[in-house]
Amino acid sequence: MAANVEEFVTQRYKQGFITDIETDTVPPGLNEDVIRLISHKKGEPEFMLDWRLKAYRHWLTMTEPNWAHVHYPPIDFQDISYYSAPKSREQQNAEAPQSLDEVDPKLLETYEKLGIPLHEQEKLAGVAVDAVFDSVSVTTTFKDKLAEAGVIFCSMSEALQEHPELVEQYIGSVVPYTDNFYAGLNSAVFTDGSFVYVPEGVTCPMELSTYFRINEAKTGQFERTLIIAEKGSYVSYLEGCTAPQRDENQLHAAVVELIAHEDATIKYSTVQNWYPGDEEGKGGIYNFVTKRGEARGDRSKVTWTQVETGSAITMKYPGCVLTGNDSVGEFYSVAVTSNYQQADTGTKMVHVGRNTRSTVVAKGISAMQGEQSYRGLVKILPSATGARNYTQCDSMLIGDQCGAHTFPYIEVKEPGAVVEHEASTSKVSDEQLFYCRQRGISEEDAVNLIVNGFCKDVFRELPMEFAVEAQALLGVTLEGAVG
């Protein structure tokens, strides 16, 4: 097994390349001028700048959270560049490319390496992709087809130009800038992100997807995603993330807001594969994001599915506020920490409406020196009569130097509610391994099989093609970690 560990250690982060593109990067530092500059560069409407400044002033009064079960040196927020855009785009006078032909070929090459050939995707997969490179959105494929159905899928900057009234109405309505330290920071400096609006009664004709990539050194990525599903609509959205291999730590502080109106369903899936740092724990992304969906209308539904294999440190708690009666919140998660990765992740389910239901299935796998915590909150307010929650969080430990922790908060103020929480922690059992080995399956394959079985409940919630990707990613991350 020692040889396998060796192999694992030398396993390179496959997305760790750097794309050599001229960029337009604002010098590091944060003050009101930088915020004005960002807003100006993006030609934003007045209300947006006001909101950003309000957020910034509030952020100055906030302190960094320190309750999570993660350790890292303090972040110098003045040492981060808050805006970085590929220059070629800037030269086009901030006009978004009209078709893929106008996109810098080097960028397209980057996406090829990432395994999302836009051309191919456009033709074959039928997935509409909005690719965000550092801070700005490069291109959105399939826009026309979506427009036919009435679906708006564009970058946040574009949305601010073309649908400012929608942005103004919804931004900050689920995650206000006062919510937490990183959401406050994001509200002040966010540079781009995706915007989705699905009109009443429309089932979005294809899966929507965004690819995020941090390329420039010493930049942070602060994207903001807003998805609005009107009455009776349906949308499924997937985000993927990668970053180049660098020695310093880079900050990623995104905010995602989902709003589901009456009878609407939003399915949000994430495959997060930011650079996790090297085998000594050097470098890697700090992934401190705020994601929250509000099931605002009656019978609405918000589903989070996440596969977290990357990042040096993750602090992420996608949540659902179940405001509408009979609304449903779901959270399915697989998180893997290996080498010196640390993850403090989980979900928040806040039941407000009557007969609201939530399901949480969280699977954590910790290997090598990885540290992983599930931190979840289930809160049943007195108004949530007949609320129901089921939580299951299982941890699997691989190796004797890793850690797996569970911190579930359950607050119930309603006697009619039924809340169940189950958790277990164990390792890949010798009996299971023996059973497989005895039938001629190699140890490596056996472990893969068992780990995949352990995660099955979550993977089957992912859209088909991403489920395959997620399984492959899991295999790569854990390669040789078992012995």
Binding site: W67, P415, T425
Partner: protein, 444 residues
């Protein structure tokens, strides 16, 4: 508490020389250090994660006087009525924290056990407590522990001899009585079991005539190799009173602890139960039951530290909450690096009977070893409607059926208790609390 909060040091100076143990340098030093720790920490506030759901403001804004030892008297018949009926036990009685010799069975010394009150040991033999007092329970565990360490004057010292089994349970009855002013008592209990010693100890806290007193108790337990101790904590303080208690246990190889924690009384009750499994083969059972209603607030924090391989723990807490009551449960299981082959099972089940009751539960696992089996679960809900239907379809009226199911829920915790008279008494007590007690008696 204001008086203590702001002038704890002065108060300690004023008391200097008055209290048992003050003559001993190391006891006086321990008390001084504890006051210093308290001055740093103060009473816990809700910004501290461990006190997130429990406010100590009600305690902080009150003044509590120090009861004098001379007042430690009460009517013997009334005390008798507070006891667990039919329990044949060696008994020490404390009135407002002070040992009441006239009401107690007195010092006990035989080849199996030595039972003394703390004031006596502090006065006559303080060095016997060296390395034992404030060892399992560090003064800085919380502001309350610091207060107890600084102001504890009395309590019990129980020493169990090696290879002996103490046949009769030892009952420590702490009675809080109504005085002209509210008082604060800080009892301290020390239990020391030598290797393969066995005993059953019951701490019983009762309020008499609805006083608004504060009881702030700390218990330290040392279990040597192979020792087996069943420790009961029954809290029936006045519904207007405050009860803060903590139990700190260190366990050596192959020792076994049973800790039963029953919480029924007090306006505000907080207990911390902490066990460190420090050697292979050590085993712990936590069994808890809380029954609260009205505006009662009951908070239990438990911690089990699996510090060495091959240790086992099992924890089951059950609670029934009615009225405006609020329950808090935080159970933490820690598995240290290399503590392989740990097995830890934990559950917390709650019944909410009214729309205004609230429960905040948090079963935590913190695990740094891989070859372990750890599970935890928590449930919150109402009575099972199918079970209710089953009983109703057999002609049992709704109220009785409900009562029966509530009884059965509590019984799961009660039946784990080994002391039969205590079990019987608790069963009766639960039935009394339920509607149609007379009809329920027919069934159980």
């Amino acid at each position: 508490m204001k008086a203590v909060d702001e002038t704890a040091t002065r108060m300690l100076d004023r008391l200097q020389g008055e209290r048992p143990g003050d003559a001993s340098d190391w006891i006086a030093g321990l008390r001084r250090d504890a006051v210093a720790r308290f001055a740093e920490m103060g009473l816990p506030n809700q910004r501290i994660e461990d006190w997130k759901y429990t406010s100590t403001k009600a305690i902080a804004k009150r003044d509590f006087a120090r009861p004098d030892a001379a007042g430690a008297t009460a009517d013997a018949n009334r005390i008798e009525a507070l006891r667990v009926p039919d329990l044949d036990a060696h008994r020490l009685v404390f009135i407002n924290g002070h040992y009441a010799a006239a009401l107690s069975d007195g010092e006990m010394t035989d080849d199996a056990v030595r039972v003394r009150n703390l004031a006596q040991v502090l006065a006559e033999d303080p060095d016997a407590l060296k390395d034992r007092l404030a060892d399992a329970a560090p003064a800085d565990f919380s502001g309350f522990t610091a207060l107890n360490t600084a102001f504890a004057e009395d309590g019990a010292v129980i020493e169990i001899a090696a290879d002996r089994r103490v046949e009769r349970p030892i009952e420590l009855l702490f009675v809080s009585t109504l005085r002209d002013e509210a008082i604060a008592a800080h009892p301290r209990i020390l239990i020391d079991a030598a290797h393969h010693g066995e005993a059953t100890i019951i701490e019983h806290y009762v309020g008499m005539d609805d006083p608004q007193n504060l009881t702030n108790a700390v218990t330290e337990v040392h279990l040597a190799e192979g020792a087996r101790v069943a420790h009961y904590r029954v809290q029936r303080e006045s519904r207007k009173g405050f009860h803060i208690g903590s139990v700190h246990v260190n366990q050596a190889a192959n020792s076994r602890l049973e800790q039963h924690n029953v919480q029924i009384g007090a306006a505000l009750c907080r207990t911390d139960i902490n066990t460190a499994l420090n050697a292979e083969g050590a085993e712990t059972l936590y069994n808890g039951l809380y029954l609260v209603n009205g505006r009662q607030h009951v908070d239990t924090h438990t911690r089990i530290n699996h510090n060495q391989p091959n240790t086992t723990s099992e924890e089951a807490y059950r609670g029934i909450l009615d009225g405006y009551a609020r329950g808090v449960f935080n159970g933490r299981v820690y598995v240290a690096p290399h503590a392989q082959k740990t097995a830890a099972y934990q559950s917390n089940d709650n019944l909410l009977l009214s729309g205004k009751a609230e429960i905040d539960t948090k079963p935590e696992l913190e695990i740094y070893a891989d070859d372990v089996v750890c599970t935890h679960g928590a449930t919150v809900g109402q009575l099972d409607t199918r079970a209710l239907f089953y009983l109703r379809s057999r002609g049992v009226d709704h109220e009785t059926a409900r009562g029966l199911l509530l009884y059965a829920f509590a019984e799961a915790a009660i039946e784990r208790m080994g002391v039969e008279p205590l079990r019987n008494w608790l069963q009766g007590f639960v039935i009394e609390e339920l509607p149609h007690a007379d009809r329920l008696q027919e069934f159980v």
